[in-house]
C-alpha cells in the first residue's frame, strides 16, 4: 500500500492509527504504526504470542493508552462490537443466552430497561437465530459448551449494530462447521452494513477468502498489505529475521519456519498482560 492510498482511506476511516507506539517499559510492542481501516474492510491481525495483537484491540477499546501517536475509532465505544478472547462463563451464573445477547443491545443504558421490551425481544431473537442459538437461548450460559458460548458472543457483538467489529480469536474452540458459520456471519455483516472488521487470529486460513488486508506483527516490526503482499516467504523472513518459508497448498497458506512462528498455537491474554 502506498502513502497516497493511506491518506485517501483516512478521510472516512472507521479506525485510524497515526504513528502509534505501544511500549511497556523498555519493551516496544510496536512503533510508528499507521493503520486506517475503511468501513466494510476486513483486516486480519496476525503475529506470534506477545507481539501486541490483543494490546492493539485494547488500545482501540480505550482500555490501554498509547505510548505515542494517536488513535481514533468512528462512533466511539457505543458503536463497537467486541468479541473477546474466549473465557468460560461461570457454571453457576444466573444468566441465559438471550440475556448475554441482550447486553450487546442495550446493556450500557441506564435504568432497568423495561421500556421497548417487545422490540428488544424481537431483535435479540433475530440475533440468536442468526447464529443458530435459538435452541439453547433459554439455557443457563454456564452449562453451554465453549462453541455455543462463542456463538452467543458473536450475536452479542452484532446485535448492537456496530460500525467497528473487534474480534479477538473468535474462532477458537469452534469446530470447522461453526468456524464457517461465524466467519460468514461477520463477513455478511460488514458487507450489508459497511462494518469495519479487525480480526485477531493465529490462523489465517479459515478467513483467507474474506481478508482484504493483513497486519502482521513480529517483535516490534510489522507489515500491512493484502495477503498476497504480506504472506510471502520474503516478507515473513524479513519480519521474523529468520528463514521462513510460505507454502501455498491449494487455497491454504502454510508458514514453515523457526519454532516461534507459532501459527498453530493459540495465544493467551495473560502473555500480553
Amino acid at each position: 500500500m502506498t502513502a497516497a492510498q493511506v491518506t485517501d482511506r483516512s478521510t472516512r476511516a472507521a479506525v485510524a492509527l497515526r504513528g502509534a507506539r505501544l511500549s511497556y517499559g523498555d519493551r516496544v510492542l510496536w512503533d510508528g504504526l499507521d493503520l486506517d481501516v475503511a468501513p466494510g474492510e476486513f483486516v486480519a491481525v496476525l503475529g506470534p504470542n506477545g507481539s501486541g495483537k490483543t494490546s492493539l484491540i485494547r488500545v482501540l477499546l480505550g482500555l490501554q493508552p498509547l505510548s505515542g501517536g494517536t488513535v481514533r475509532v468512528a462512533g466511539g465505544n457505543r458503536r463497537i462490537g467486541y468479541i473477546p478472547q474466549q473465557r468460560a462463563l461461570d457454571s453457576s451464573l444466573a444468566l441465559r443466552g438471550r440475556d448475554l445477547v441482550g447486553f450487546g443491545l442495550d446493556g450500557h443504558g441506564w435504568g432497568v430497561g423495561w421500556r421497548h421490551r417487545r422490540e428488544r425481544r424481537a431483535r435479540v431473537d433475530e440475533a440468536l437465530a442468526s447464529v443458530g442459538a435459538t435452541q439453547y437461548a433459554d439455557e443457563p450460559v454456564g452449562l453451554l459448551s465453549g462453541g455455543e458460548q462463542q456463538r452467543l458472543r458473536v450475536a452479542q457483538a452484532l446485535v448492537g449494530d456496530p460500525e467497528v467489529l473487534l474480534c479477538d480469536e473468535p474462532l477458537l474452540s469452534l469446530d470447522l462447521h461453526h468456524q464457517r458459520v461465524v466467519s460468514d456471519l461477520i463477513d455478511a455483516r460488514r458487507r450489508a452494513a459497511d462494518t469495519a472488521v479487525l480480526f485477531v487470529t493465529h490462523e489465517i486460513n479459515p478467513i483467507l477468502p474474506l481478508v482484504d488486508r493483513v497486519l502482521y506483527l513480529v517483535e516490534g516490526r510489522f507489515r500491512i498489505g493484502t495477503p498476497a503482499e504480506v504472506m510471502t516467504s520474503r516478507t515473513l523472513t524479513e519480519l521474523y529475521r529468520t528463514n521462513v518459508e510460505v507454502v501455498r497448498v491449494r487455497d491454504q497458506i502454510h508458514v514453515v519456519g523457526a519454532q516461534h512462528v507459532c501459527e498453530d498455537e493459540p495465544h493467551h491474554v495473560a502473555d500480553e498482560g
Binding site: L63, Y82, P84, L95, F103, V112, G113, P140
Partner: protein, 276 residues
Amino acid sequence: MENFLDVGQTLDLLRYVQPMLIAGAVLGLVAGLLGPLVVTRKMAFAVHGTSELAFTGGAAALLVGIGVGYGALAGSVLAALLLGLLSRRDSDRDSVIGAILAFGLGLGVLFLALYKGRAANKFGLLTGQVVSVGSTDLWLLIGSSVAVLAVLAFIYRPLHFASVDAAVATARGVPVRTLSVVFAVLVGVATALSVQLVGALLVLSLMITPAAAAVRVTASPVRATVLAVVFAEVSVLGGMVLSLAPGMPVSAFVTAVSFLIYLVCRLMSGKRERVQ
C-alpha cells in the same frame, strides 16, 4: 418450649412488634433485590467484612452515646468505600477484606470493652435484636432503603452487564470501576440496616442465602431476583413471627428459615441437573 407454637400469645405480641415487622419487610425487599447481584459478583465475603465494620461503627456509637444505627451506617459505608478503592483487582479483594475485617473487629471489641452500659446492647450488635425499633429508626431505615433502591434502579442494567461480563461491558463504555464502588456503598448501607435486625454475624442470611437459593433454581435474572425477594421476605417475616412466642433471638429463626429454603432449592437443582 411448650409455648413455642402458642398462637394466642403470638397474635398478642404481633401488635407490639408491628414496626419491627415493617422494618423486616423493607429489609427483606432491599436484601432480596441486591442479593442476586452480590452473588453474581461473588461478594459474599465482602458483605461479611462490611457487616463486621458496621459492628465496629455501632460499637463506637454506643461508646460515644449516639444512635447505633448511625454508627453502623458510617462504619459499613466507610468499609465499602475502602474495599472498593483498595481492591482494584479481583485477585487481591479477598486479602484486602480479610485485613480490614480483622482490624475492624479488633477495634470493635476494644470499643465494647470500654463501654460501661448494658451488656445486652453489646451482644445485640453481633447477633441481632430488635426490641427497640423506634419510629425514628424506622424512618431512617425506610428513607435509606428508598435511596438504595432508587440508585439501584438507575444503575441496574449497566451494573448487571458489568457483573457478568466486565470485559465486554468496559468495551461498550460502561464505567465498570465506578459502578463497583457505587454498588459496594449500596451493599454497605443495606448491610448496616440489616445489622440492627439480625446482627453483624448473620447479615449473610439476609443478603446471600436467599439469592444463593434463587440462582440454584432459575437462570433467568428477573425470576432469580423475584425469588430472592420472596425468599428473603419469608425468612425475615417468618423468622420474626416464629421467634415471638418462645422469646428467642430473631436471628436464630431468620437464619434457620433461610437456610431451609436454601437446602430445598439445592435439592431441586440437583435433580434438574441430573435430568439434563
